[in-house]
Amino acid sequence: MNIKLKYFSWIRVKLKKSHDLIEFDQTISFKELKINLISKDPVFQEIFEDKSVKYFLNLTEIYDENQKLNNGDILALLPPVTGG
């Protein structure tokens, strides 16, 4: 299954990319995804430790670490917004 990751603001700048498409053999949880990402790039450690970062799954904010992710899901990593 595929998960699309979207990065914004300083997260995008830090990772030097705006998105990723990641493949997994089986369904995973948000928590498992985090562990997987940190193992690939330690920058994710800093991102996930920042309590101000929000996570939106298919345009809806998620709070539950155990949230299951499905094929085709879009997960966005958002620093505090500064528009207006």
Partner: protein
């Protein structure tokens, strides 16, 4: 009416687009690019506005719906620019239209306040020589000054 756009806009035209004889009162908030200093005390030359467009549209719709319902508005228009903007350029416009002024004014302030903390836009100061600085949400601690290149198309 909600628009996220690279283009500037004309206040008179936007007003006409929502005006009606049912409205006795219109409240506008217009945000613009202010000549300011960066966190490193450099004069900013402009700003860059990043956006998660699908999410921002959904969030703006929710805020607009709330404003319309809560203050029984006749109309509520929200326009937000994205991309590179020079000093003095318009960033955001909110217009609320109501029979009576108190409702229009209060709702307009609600919309801009909500937008500032709940909608997926991010500002960068442009400092010249390809130098950029992320604008932090007010009250947030820690400065994240970053120099970077290939972000702006």
């Amino acid at each position: 009416m909600i628009k996220i756009t690279y283009e500037s806009f004309d206040l008179e035209k936007e007003f006409i687009s929502i005006s009606s004889v049912s409205n006795g009162a219109y409240s506008f908030f217009l945000g613009a690019v202010r000549s300011d200093l960066s966190s490193s005390n450099k004069k900013i030359k402009g700003i860059y506005l990043e956006c998660y467009e699908e999410l921002a549209l959904a969030q703006l719709k929710k805020i607009r719906r709330r404003a319309l319902n809560n203050w029984k508005l006749n109309e509520c228009l929200i326009i937000h620019r994205i991309g590179k903007l020079d000093l003095g350029e318009k960033i955001v416009l909110v217009i609320t239209a109501s029979s009576h002024r108190t409702k229009a004014i209060e709702a307009c302030e609600f919309v801009i306040d909500s937008l500032k903390i709940d909608v997926a836009f991010w500002k960068f100061h442009l400092l010249g020589n390809d130098e950029k600085e992320i604008v932090l949400q007010k009250n947030s601690d820690g400065k994240k000054m970053l120099k970077w290149k290939d972000i702006i198309n």
